[in-house]
Subunit: 285 residues, 2 copies
Amino acid sequence: MRVVRSVAAMQRLALNRRGKGRIGLVPTMGYLHEGHLQLVRAARRQSDFVVVSIFVNPIQFGPKEDFRRYPRDFRRDRRLLESAGADVIFYPAVKDMYPEGYATFVEVERLSDGLCGASRPGHFRGVATVVAKLFNIVMPDVAVFGAKDAQQVFVIRRMAHDLGFHTRIVIVPTVREKDGLAMSSRNVYLSQEQRAEAPVLHRSLVLAKRLVGQGERSAAKVRAAMRGLIQRESGGRIDYVEITDTDELKPVRTIEGETLVALAVFFGKTRLIDNIVVRTGSCEL
Amino acid sequence: MRVVRSVAAMQRLALNRRGKGRIGLVPTMGYLHEGHLQLVRAARRQSDFVVVSIFVNPIQFGPKEDFRRYPRDFRRDRRLLESAGADVIFYPAVKDMYPEGYATFVEVERLSDGLCGASRPGHFRGVATVVAKLFNIVMPDVAVFGAKDAQQVFVIRRMAHDLGFHTRIVIVPTVREKDGLAMSSRNVYLSQEQRAEAPVLHRSLVLAKRLVGQGERSAAKVRAAMRGLIQRESGGRIDYVEITDTDELKPVRTIEGETLVALAVFFGKTRLIDNIVVRTGSCEL
């Protein structure tokens, strides 16, 4: 496994490899957990040359967000990626990705506005921009993302399709702790008490799925039940609990077809997200 | 020479060709003139497989601009490109490039705001977006643009560099009619009288270059001399006459180093642009 730090060297490597077997890319911000490693294994199965990028991307953080204190541990990440079968870690410096005079941004309209986009203005612009740039540098035939970041998945899928990237976008299901909490690098911020309460997020999603399975079609009623559960069973402050279509991510009143149930809840300063996709009709999930 | 109309077919072709010799791309809006053909010949010299795209890109036209009446003549273009040595014409439909639900745009900040961007809001967003998409579809190692569209050149160069495209951007000098008028598909709009007056644009640029060569360093004085000449010798309505740096395209007060002298002038409804780059110091142009 090689570690490549420069943008130019990574691109030279990709130019040499492209067309000679599939290149797989797993974009991460590091501080890896089992969820990331599942992405790497999926990339391993679906490509011949696996690049994992580790880059805490400043332009997807708001001015009051946790860019500086975002957890980092490169040596541990390197060890984990070696075991998971990565061929290259692409580990660029911020000033190599965004040199002085940097001016170009990729925007995905509409899909970036609601859900996390509403409380994190500019976040998905930063995500779409860095992913487009990583695609140009690494030239992946396959790129793998985790379903936990649902809006990110929809934004990137739309961006890749709209801009004509040849890269196939693969989504891997959320990996959870035994008590249901979605794995996240940010879980490390939680106090013991917050950690004990946080699984209520997943329970609220399971509740939503059960209600829809029982025939409930009112988004308002499902959301109210979820909010009630979260408020009864935790001290979390709800940022949003939303139910949207899976095309434009617009809130729906009636749950039918493929529908995203997504939430963001603060535990102290730590903002956790989770989601589930439910399907009504013949192909119930 | 092949004509490829579908985005998917063009990308399949590029995926098969990439890495086996250099792919060259010349993005055009068709209605080709000698200026375009020079771009194709430059691409021919610098690459092994030359793709010329013909696409009148709706998203770079404002609502009151000439998208609908923009001149088109595909049969003539095809004949010219055959002679100039293109391998492929990529000739996509608008609904294949921008299908329903299209949402992604590429923005180049600062460089897109002044000059033509001031009177054509959104124009360079449309340009940057379509060029990024063409780069992803055609995967060119070299892309060739004409110097006549100066701001476009700077915006695309910045975009390609910022987003990490491996594509090398090649700029070919403006091709002019014998009387100095820059070749443009829009020259066909001019009445006989307007056509007779239009070469004053080039004369004003030559005047600017001469003044700078004689030691004039005041941008205000050079601009005033240019405006005076245009107003004396034509009925053109000046949109802008501007002198900027060649990095961020910001207006300068003092002309030093590499400087862009650019203008846009309306003759009736027809907006013509032209420019020249002047250099002070040891390497006078």
